[in-house]
């Protein structure tokens, strides 16, 4: 193996890492917010909202992300009301289309993960909260969300890792993130093995850090699931 080539490849690919990180961070952020709206509709008492959420989750979980991305990138421009709307300057940008489709897709999965978290809340703990006078947003903020989030965290961390890998699809709508740059390098050098190996190492390192952070978060949030400390806990 050509070490010098590997090092120069690494440098080229790492230059595209900020683009991968931007795709990832923006889509997880907006997808997470959208997922909260979807899950709120999904568990609401309103039948129209509930059915909309069910349909949304079915469509975005049930169809390939790549096709969703193509439909948004190549498809939206066909509609005059979009082409001539104030949104078009944004929507014709490949980066915006990639973030949009990644966020829409992860929102569908995350909404289901959050819903399972909500269903795992012990009814007795909700009843205790109601009995001291909590309801509505206060109940959600103080009791429902914190418990549901803890239950959802392991599954959600898998979804977050999936999102890191899904950013690779953005290369197919001409966003120059790590995988896209790797393919361009291969087209120039015909050295598939070394280039993709470097790209894989970057994704692995990135996901290693993300998974470590997620499991640290889970550890910090769940002292109640561990055995009692042998020595008294110091004052906080």
């Amino acid at each position: 193996m050509d070490i010098d080539f590997m090092i120069s490849t690494m440098k080229t690919l790492l230059a595209a890492l900020p683009m991968t990180l931007a795709l990832f961070a923006l889509s997880v952020f907006f997808g997470g917010i959208l997922a909260l709206v979807i899950v709120w509709m999904r568990v609401s008492g309103n039948a129209a909202a509930r059915n909309f959420a069910k349909g949304y989750i079915f469509i975005f979980r049930g169809s390939p992300l790549l096709i969703q991305m193509f439909l948004i990138f190549y498809g939206l421009g066909q509609f005059g009301f979009i082409r001539y709307s104030f949104l078009w300057p944004a929507l014709r940008e490949p980066f915006v289309c990639a973030v949009l489709s990644l966020a829409l897709c992860t929102a569908g999965y995350s909404a289901e993960i959050f819903r399972f978290g909500l269903r795992a809340i012990p009814a007795k703990e909700i009843e205790a909260a109601r009995s001291i006078g909590m309801s509505g947003f206060l109940l959600t903020r103080r009791i429902l969300a914190p418990i549901a989030f803890r239950h959802a965290l392991p599954a959600y961390s898998t979804e977050v890792v999936m999102m890191v890998k899904s950013t690779a699809l953005a290369s197919l709508v001409t966003v120059w993130e790590v995988t896209g740059v790797a393919q361009r390098l291969i087209a120039q050098t015909y050295r598939t093995m070394e280039v993709f190996l470097c790209a894989a190492i970057i994704y692995l390192l990135l996901n290693f850090l993300i998974l470590q952070a997620m499991s640290l978060l889970e550890y910090k949030l769940t002292p109640h699931r561990r055995a009692a400390p042998l020595f008294p806990v110091p004052q906080r």
Binding site: A128, S131, G133, M134, S135, G136, I147, R150, L221, R225
Partner: protein, 268 residues
């Protein structure tokens, strides 16, 4: 036995009415669980609700703080009537904020403690005062620590519920209710989920509350508590009040034949 009830502050006739329940009815499907129950609790009253399982005593208690909504009847807490309305053929509270406020004035202690498992004992106790009553956190912590001291688990304040015994968890749950400074305490079989050797420590806390003059409604199977701590015993049968009187009266000669048979099962 001693004829004077242990709680001295609640000399029965004098106090103000803390809780008034009139003609509560409740059905689950076609099964009528409560068939018109009325009850009045004055300041300092300690009322034990006895009855076989299925007699409706827990449902009655849960109707008082609207964890179950009665189909019919009126409930007033400290003179304030809970507003109800008919919607879609069902009786529902018409003012959510009033329900929340009334609930914050009624302490509820559950059979299986229902502590929030992800919070420490101290966090459980200050949750209501800080977030429902919106009081200053430092002040709530000081009060909570005094309450935990009082129920005897101060050293457990930074432990999580899962790390405590059942008796300790129930005492923490009582402290959590007391932190709201309730006008009336409702106990729903507070010792039924406990190992026999842990029952005493919870009953001792309840007894000291009664002696301080707390108005209490206690669904229980603890005959000694009903007999020695409460100043009034209500025996329910098939969703109705069968016997109602002082413990001396009921455990003496005044109880009905059904009540005699019921306490006979406890060796009482």
């Amino acid at each position: 036995m001693n004829p004077t009830p242990l709680n001295q502050t609640g000399t029965t006739m004098a106090g103000t009415t803390r809780l008034s329940v009139r003609n509560i009815r409740k059905s689950f499907g076609t099964h009528e669980v409560l068939r018109g129950i009325s009850l009045e609790a004055r300041d300092g009253d300690v009322i034990s609700l006895l009855g076989a399982s299925g007699s409706g005593k827990s449902t009655f208690l849960r109707c008082i703080n609207l964890l179950e909504i009665a189909d019919h009847g009126e409930i007033s807490v400290d003179g304030e009537l809970i507003q109800m309305q008919q919607r879609g053929g069902k009786n529902v509270p018409s003012n959510r904020r009033q329900v929340d406020r009334i609930r914050s004035e009624l302490g509820m202690v559950f059979q299986s403690f229902n502590l929030w498992s992800h919070m420490t004992i101290l966090e459980n106790v200050i949750e209501g005062p800080v977030h429902v009553l919106k009081r200053a956190r430092a002040e709530c912590i000081a009060e909570a620590e005094a309450l935990l001291e009082k129920v005897g688990i101060a050293e457990k304040r930074h432990a999580y519920p899962a790390h405590l015994s059942g008796g300790q968890q129930q005492r923490a749950a009582i402290a959590r209710s007391l932190a709201m400074k309730p006008k009336v305490m409702l106990f729903d079989e507070p010792t039924s989920a406990l190992d026999p050797e842990l029952v005493g420590e919870v009953l001792r806390v309840m007894r000291s509350l009664a002696e301080e003059g707390m108005t209490m409604l206690v669904v229980t199977h603890e005959m000694s508590f009903a007999r020695n701590v409460s100043n009034r015993v209500i025996f329910m049968k098939s969703g109705e009040i069968d016997s109602d009187g002082t413990p001396d009266d009921l455990f003496g000669q005044g109880g009905s034949a059904s009540f005699r048979q019921f306490i006979g099962n406890f060796g009482g």
